[in-house]
Each structure stands twice: as structure tokens, then as C-alpha cells.
């Protein structure tokens, strides 16, 4: 019964999207306000019905309704309840429903938070989102219906969740990633709406910017969570594998990073308009491509276990329709664009476009690396694999000029920057950077050229960021001057510092990590980077729903006790699973990581021991970047834009002044 209601809700949501994709757009063309005002209610309806459908499916999972094919295939009565909630998006149909829930959620958010944007523009944006949603609702209902029934013959119990997917990490980061993926649809819709209007002034960039930042922030967090989880739970000690599915999320991130920078230029200087539109289209297109690659099984990876060419064809058709049409619209309309301001070769504009060039190059590298095996095979040239060395080398080359621009860009002026004026700042940054690099790297035993390069780049970013703040506060750092800087300025500062922190983590971890696989008897020890790991004992542990062998390892450095690690091997009798729970001692300077392996017949145990310097910084930096995005979104000028009338704007401003103390929310 509830499942049927879910099915009905899904159809109603589709009908709402149909109205949303049609009437407001017609209204915008004909200039009929009657049609325009339909946009917002339809957006709300679309979200509400999708949410209902999603709740109905969740209900079916929790109550073990095996008359539904999707539930029977992806759950079973013994599955713990938390897995049942997450199993909703464990398969193809459900994950698309989640995707749709998020798309309609973003659409609804646009309808709510766009009071300052003229109605005709909102109607166009919502219309574009509705049209995209219509395509995917049709796909969901026609080709991949999560509510398909097995009646009258239904199984006694469900089949287990695909064993490869019954794994908390595979479960937790899809929602975050989807949130980012789908979020780029909003910036995309603004770009398309602006193209349709034929009025590509800088206002659309201002409206689209907070949305692009929000999507980028979510995507940053999603990728970070995935990587962090892989490190802590998989027990391989790695944090990024250049797996096709990771790449599929990394491409929109790179394009999105270029987009948020390009939007800033378009908003402030009214240049690179066509380029910004193209980036907005690209970021969402790459998200769609990523979804397609992961879900069609076209690229073989553990994530895409089941593939179905017909469904793949349907998504590909949608992809061609959405991306093809928008690129065609772009090609036809953007030729009318003319930049109406001038700038010199050395200027902030040029540095930002340079940064865009390198980010785009990086996106293309990842795209090529991911798709080359496919293209190669289809050309009949046999199978090849593109692996880590390719990506690592390409990114090592790209990062140097990228950082040079990142260092100079924020300090330079718009229009024209005399390079001589920055001489002292750059000289300081380079000299001080070299000294700090030398100081930091002498604390490591080994020497590595790449580590020197990476660390130096990090210090250059940090020092120039500080120089930039000095420059903007007239060399006087005090509370009053710092407060004068806008929130979006602080957002930029955090974004850049976060990037530096991540880069430092990556550099030091990649170059100075040590790992060893050893076979130890109780009482034996092994030494890594001055840390002496002693295998003390194995004790039996009874947990709430598992029993475990816990290997106790004490760590001593230079005769001083550092920590005691407990590396567990847990056996869950209900699921009959064995999970390794690595013992990790984490601080900002290094991670000590011990994983327990098999017991051998002679009573010795296999252990994996790692020392990973600065690995925490990788995720810390990403979190700082996401925080930067949040700060930028909260900038005053977006909130002023939110209100159309000047009086209302004033009211809000007053309220802000009154409530600045508690203004973080």
C-alpha cells in the first residue's frame, strides 16, 4: 500500500517537473506573469512528492517489504536496521531516487532563497531545472523503477546487499558526493537561463555565485569524507587511488574550482563571460558524465558491479540531450558576447584566467586518464590501463605554474599590475619560503627533491596570502582593519590556506611515509622512523555484537613511551563478517597505524605498521577550503541581493548590525 503511494508520488513529482519545465519557460518567452508565478509552487510540489516517494521506499526497506523487487534484491531480513536505511541507495534505482531527491531539493532551495532575483529570471532557472528533472523522472519511472512489484510471487527473504557494497564507506559518501554533483545544476541552470534571455551581463554571475560555492563546498566535503574513510577503514593506509569513480567526482571538482574563480571575475569585471558560461555548463556536464560512468558500468571498477546497456543508453540519451543542447545554445548565443572592459597582460584578470587554464588542463588530464582505456579499446588497439604514475606526474607538472599564479593573483590589481610593485613581496615570500622549507625538511631523515618543491610551494602560498592581507590592511594588522575585509575575502583566504594545508599533507605523506609488513611473535618489536613498535599481547575482546582479537602494540620513541595501540580483528557473528579495525594514533605531526593480520601456526601474527607524517593535514585542509566556501556564501552582498526593495535591504542591514555577535549561523 505504502509502496503504491510512493509510486504515485513519483508520478506526481514527474508531472510537477513537466509543468515546471514548460509553463514558466513559455511564460518567459511570451512575457506572461500568470505563467511565471507557477514556477515556485511547482518547484515545491516536485520536492514534496519526491520526498514522499523516497520515504515510502525507506519504509519498504525498514519493514522488509519483499514484494518490491528492488527491496528484495538489495536487503534481507537479517540486515541491521542502519544498513536498511542506507540500503535505499545501495542499488541503481534507489541511488537515482536519492539523486532526484537532491535535485528537487536544490530546485526548492532556489525557489526559496531567490527573492532578490527578478521573477522572470527565477522562472527561467526553475524551468531549466524542471526540464532536467523531467528527463530523469522519466528514466526513473520507465527504465529503472524502484517500486517495481514482484507480486504475486515474491521471495521469502531478500537477497543480500551486494557483498562488495555491504560496507559502511560505500554507503556514507554517495549522498555527500551527490549533493555536490547535483548542486552544480543550479549554476548550470543560471547560465542556461542567462543564455536564453540573451542578456549575459554580470548579474547572472552574482546570482549564480553563492550556489556554485555551495555545491563546490559539498563536493569538497564529499570527496574528503570518501578519502578519509578509505584511509581509516580499509586499512591499506592509502588515501587516494585514482580509481575511475574517484576521478568521476574529481573532474567536477576541478571544473567547479575553475568556475568559482571565473564567476568572481565575471561578477566584478564583466569579462570572460563566455568562458564562465562554458565552465558552468562543464561543471554540471562532468557531474552527469560522472553519474553515467559510475552507473552504466561502462568502466569496470568495483563500484559498478552490475551493468545494463539499455539503462546506460537511456542515461546517455539524456546526457546528449542536456549537454548537447546546452553546448549548442552556448555556441549560438555566446558569439554575441563582448567584453566591455580592458585589461593588460599582467593583471589580476590574466592571472585568474591562467589559473583557469591550469585547472581546465587538470580536468582534461583526469578525463583523458579515465576515458583513454575505453577509447583505446574501442579503437581496437587493445586494453591499456592508466594508473597512478601518469596522474601523479601530470599533477606534479601542473601544480608549479598553478601555485605561482595563486601566489601572485590575489595581490595583483585588476586591469593592470606593474610587476615591479610586487617585487618586494614576492622576494620576501621566496626567501622566507626557502628558509622555512629547509627548517621543516631537516626534521626528516631522508631527502627528496619533490618534497622540497612541494613544501616550498606551500610556504609561498601561505606567505603571499599573509602579504596580501597586509596589503589590504595598509600594513597594519589590527582587529579593526581585519574586520573591514569582507567575508568573501576571508573565504578566499581560507580557501587558499586550506589548499596549502592539503598540499603540505600530500607532499609530506607521499614522500616520507614508511610502511612495513612484518611477522611478529609476542614480545618482538620492529622499528620505523625511530618509533619502536613492540607487540605485547593478543587479548580476546567481547564487544556488544562482535568478538575480536585485539593485538596490543606499545610504541616507544627515544626511550619514551608514546602510546599503546589496539589493532582489532572483529568477527560479527550475525553478519558473519570479519572487519579489521586498525589501531591509529593520530596527531598533527604524524599518524601511527597498526593493522592486525592472520595468526600463523607457530603463534606469530602478521602485522602491518605504518608511520605517516602529516597525513591528517590532507583532510584538515579540505575542511578549511569548505569552510572558506561557507564564509563566501555568507558575504553581505549576496544577502542584500536577496531582497528586491531598497527598504527591505535596509531593514536587513539594520538587523545584521544589531545581531553581528551571533552572526555565524
Amino acid at each position: 500500500m505504502i509502496a503504491e503511494l510512493g509510486q504515485l508520488s513519483l508520478i506526481l513529482a514527474m508531472m510537477a517537473s513537466m509543468c515546471l519545465g514548460f509553463y514558466p519557460i513559455v511564460g518567459a518567452i511570451r512575457g506572461e506573469p500568470r505563467l511565471l508565478i507557477m514556477a515556485k509552487p511547482m518547484a515545491f510540489a516536485m520536492f514534496a512528492f519526491t520526498l514522499l516517494a523516497y520515504m515510502a521506499l525507506t519504509h519498504a526497506f525498514v519493514t522488509d517489504d519483499f514484494t518490491i523487487k528492488y527491496v528484495a534484491n538489495h536487503s534481507n531480513s537479517l540486515l541491521p536496521v542502519y544498513y536498511k536505511y542506507t540500503a535505499v541507495w545501495g542499488g541503481h534505482e534507489g541511488s537515482f531516487l536519492l539523486w532526484m531527491l537532491m535535485l528537487s531539493g536544490w530546485t526548492c532551495a532556489v525557489a526559496i532563497f531567490s527573492r532578490g532575483v527578478p521573477l522572470i529570471m527565477v522562472a527561467r532557472v526553475l524551468g531549466v531545472l524542471g526540464a532536467i528533472a523531467l528527463g530523469f523522472y522519466l528514466f526513473l519511472i520507465l527504465a529503472s523503477n524502484p517500486f517495481e512489484s514482484l507480486l504475486p510471487y515474491f521471495p521469502v527473504d531478500g537477497r543480500d546487499l551486494n557483498p562488495l557494497l555491504q560496507d559502511i564507506g560505500m554507503i556514507i559518501h554517495p549522498p555527500m558526493l551527490y549533493m555536490g554533483y547535483v548542486g552544480f545544476s543550479v549554476a548550470f541552470a543560471f547560465a542556461i537561463a542567462a543564455l536564453m534571455a540573451g542578456r549575459l551581463d554580470s548579474t547572472w554571475a552574482r546570482w549564480a555565485r553563492p550556489w556554485a560555492l555551495a555545491a563546490w563546498g559539498f563536493l569538497t566535503l564529499g570527496i574528503t569524507l570518501g578519502s578519509w574513510w578509505a584511509y581509516y577503514e580499509l586499512g591499506w593506509g592509502g588515501w587516494w587511488f585514482w580509481d575511475p569513480v574517484e576521478n568521476a567526482s574529481f573532474m567536477p571538482w576541478l571544473a567547479g574550482t575553475a568556475l568559482i574563480h571565473s564567476l568572481a571575475v565575471t561578477e566584478k569585471r564583466k569579462v570572460f563571460k563566455a568562458w564562465t558560461v562554458l565552465l558552468a555548463i562543464s561543471a554540471f556536464s562532468l557531474s552527469l558524465l560522472g553519474t553515467f560512468l559510475v552507473r552504466s558500468g561502462i568502466i569496470v571498477s568495483v563500484h559498478s558491479f552490475a551493468s545494463d546497456p539499455e539503462r546506460g543508453l537511456f542515461i546517455l540519451g539524456l546526457l546528449v540531450l542536456v549537454i548537447g543542447c546546452s553546448l549548442a545554445l552556448f555556441a549560438m548565443r555566446s558569439s554575441m558576447l563582448k567584453s566591455n572592459s580592458r585589461y593588460q597582460l599582467v593583471s589580476r584578470e590574466m592571472m585568474l584566467i591562467g589559473n583557469n587554464v591550469f585547472l581546465t588542463a587538470a580536468t582534461i588530464v583526469v578525463l583523458l586518464g579515465t576515458l583513454l582505456p575505453l577509447v583505446h579499446k574501442e579503437l581496437g588497439l587493445g586494453s591499456i590501463s592508466v594508473g597512478e604514475p601518469f596522474f601523479n606526474q601530470m599533477f606534479t607538472w601542473l601544480i608549479v605554474p598553478f601555485v605561482v599564479l595563486l601566489a601572485m593573483g590575489p595581490m595583483s590589481r585588476w586591469k593592470r599590475q606593474a610587476i615591479g610593485d610586487l617585487k618586494s613581496q614576492l622576494l620576501w615570500a621566496v626567501l622566507l619560503g626557502l628558509v622555512m622549507t629547509a627548517l621543516l625538511l631537516t626534521s626528516f631523515e631522508r631527502f627528496s627533491m619533490l618534497a622540497v618543491l612541494g613544501t616550498f610551494l606551500v610556504f609561498v602560498i601561505v606567505l603571499t596570502t599573509i602579504q596580501e592581507i597586509l596589503l589590504r590592511t595598509n600594513q597594519q594588522i589590527n582587529w579593526r582593519n581585519l574586520r573591514k575585509l569582507s567575508r568573501s575575502h576571508w573565504g578566499m583566504v581560507l580557501g587558499h590556506l586550506g589548499f596549502a594545508v592539503t598540499l603540505l599533507g600530500i607532499t609530506l605523506t607521499s614522500n616520507f611515509s614508511e610502511e612495513r609488513e612484518v611477522r611478529l611473535n609476542i614480545g618482538d618489536s620492529v622499528e620505523l622512523q625511530n618509533y619502536q613498535f613492540t607487540f605485547k599481547q593478543v587479548r580476546h575482546i567481547e564487544g556488544p555484537n562482535y568478538s575480536a582479537d585485539g593485538g596490543v602494540v606499545t610504541v616507544i620513541r627515544n626511550g619514551e613511551f608514546v602510546t599503546e595501540l589496539l589493532a582489532e580483528k572483529r568477527f560479527y557473528p550475525v553478519q558473519r563478517n570479519v572487519m579489521t579495525e586498525a589501531g591509529i594514533d593520530s596527531n598533527l605531526l604524524r599518524d601511527l597505524f597498526v593493522a592486525l593480520g592472520d595468526e600463523f601456526t607457530d603463534g606469530s601474527w602478521g602485522l602491518r605498521v605504518y608511520v605517516k607524517p602529516f597525513v591528517l593535514w590532507i583532510w584538515l585542509g579540505a575542511a578549511i577550503m569548505a569552510l572558506g566556501a561557507l564564509l563566501s556564501i555568507m558575504d553581505k552582498r549576496y544577502r542584500l541581493v536577496c531582497v528586491s526593495k531598497a527598504t527591505q535591504a535596509k531593514n536587513i542591514e539594520n538587523r545584521q548590525i544589531a545581531g553581528t555577535g551571533a552572526d555565524f549561523g
Binding site: 537477497r159 556536464s285 558500468g297 551493468s307 549548442a328 568477527f571 558473519r576 563478517n577 570479519v578 579489521t580
Partner: protein
């Protein structure tokens, strides 16, 4: 001006080119077949008996006899439900061979001990009936992958030449047997009898 137009159309052209490869890729063979296509020879293998690692089996055990290969595990709830029906099939003279699939999350670290698996199997089969002539242990789970198994239970009907006639996903019960298997099974048995 023309040049500018060409430049603006470049993204569209590149995307369409990419689409061409995506369409082709969609219909080409994946590395792992999703389902062993029916009418195909079973892939080669060499795997031990689950109860005795010294006893090795190869594809030859499926030659000259019509066999049902049943993919199962003691951890699988539905498998437990189909065991009594499979046992009744064995009593009717159907040859059933198990392909034992251990759901083991961390192959690098070895999960349950072999001893424990064997105790579980013995216990389950004593309780619910033993339909199997013997059980092949898919140690690394790669043979199931080759067969296109996505979970358990799944059942394959193999003829006397080692060809897959049918691949059934889900539990095997009276209804499925009557509707899906019986006709093909009888035909295959006829062929076996005639030589």
C-alpha cells in the same frame, strides 16, 4: 568572425566525439560478464573441495553428466530456505554440485578460519538436508565473478558438454523448477541417455 564561431562550436564537437565512444563502449563486452551467457562453456577452473583442500576439481567434473550448480553460503538466509527443496531434487536423482561462496570482507587478512567454515557447513547441512554431491570452494571468489554471480543463491543448469543452459538468480523452489527448469532439464537428460 568565422574563426570565432568555429571556436565556440568546438566544445560541442568534442562532446559529440566523446559520445560516439561512450555508445560504443556501452555495447562492448565488459571485463566481467554480468551474466554468463547461456549456451556458453563453463570457464576453466581448478578449485579445492570445501571440506578437503587436497581434493582439486576442474571443469571435467561437469562433463558427461547434467548438473545443477548451486551457488550458496551458510551466511545466506535464502540459501537455507532452498536447501530442503534442493535435497528433494537430489532424492529424485538430480545431480547438484555446490559452489561455496564465503562472504569474507577482507581477503587480504583472511576472515573466518577454514575450520569454522567447515563446522558451519556441516551443521547447516545436517539440519536442513544435504543436496550436494560435493562442494567446490570458490576460494578467491573469482570463479563466481567469472560466472557472473552477483550474490547468493544462484543456480546454473549445465548440460553434459559443460555448457550453461540456464542461469537462475534467486531461490529455487517448486514453482521456478516447474516453470523454468523442468523442460530444459528433461531435454538435457534425454540427450545424456541417448549418448
Amino acid at each position: 568572425m568565422v574563426k570565432k564561431y568555429l571556436l565556440l562550436f568546438l566544445p560541442l564537437v568534442l562532446f559529440l566525439l566523446l559520445t560516439f565512444f561512450l555508445v560504443k563502449g556501452l555495447f562492448s563486452e565488459a571485463r566481467y560478464e554480468v551474466s554468463t551467457q547461456v549456451d556458453r562453456q563453463l570457464p576453466e577452473f581448478s578449485l579445492p573441495d570445501v571440506m578437503d583442500e587436497d581434493q582439486l576439481y576442474t571443469r571435467q567434473v561437469f562433463e558427461n553428466q547434467v548438473t545443477l550448480i548451486n551457488v550458496w553460503g551458510t551466511w545466506c538466509v535464502t540459501c537455507a530456505i532452498e536447501l530442503p527443496f534442493l535435497t528433494s531434487l537430489r532424492e529424485q536423482g538430480v545431480r547438484i554440485v555446490g559452489l561455496y561462496f564465503e562472504q569474507d570482507l577482507d581477503p587480504d587478512f583472511g576472515g573466518k578460519s577454514l575450520q569454522q567454515i567447515r563446522t558451519d557447513i556441516r551443521q547447516t547441512l545436517n539440519q536442513l538436508g544435504n543436496p550436494y554431491q560435493f562442494n567446490i570452494f570458490d576460494v578467491n571468489r573469482d570463479y563466481s565473478m567469472d560466472l557472473g554471480v552477483t550474490g547468493a543463491p544462484e543456480t546454473f543448469l549445465v548440460d553434459m558438454h559443460g555448457r550453461v543452459l540456464l542461469h537462475h538468480v534467486g531461490d529455487l523452489n517448486e514453482r521456478v523448477w516447474q516453470d523454468k527448469f523442468l523442460a530444459l532439464y528433461q531435454q538435457a537428460m534425454l540427450e545424456q541417455k541417448n549418448g
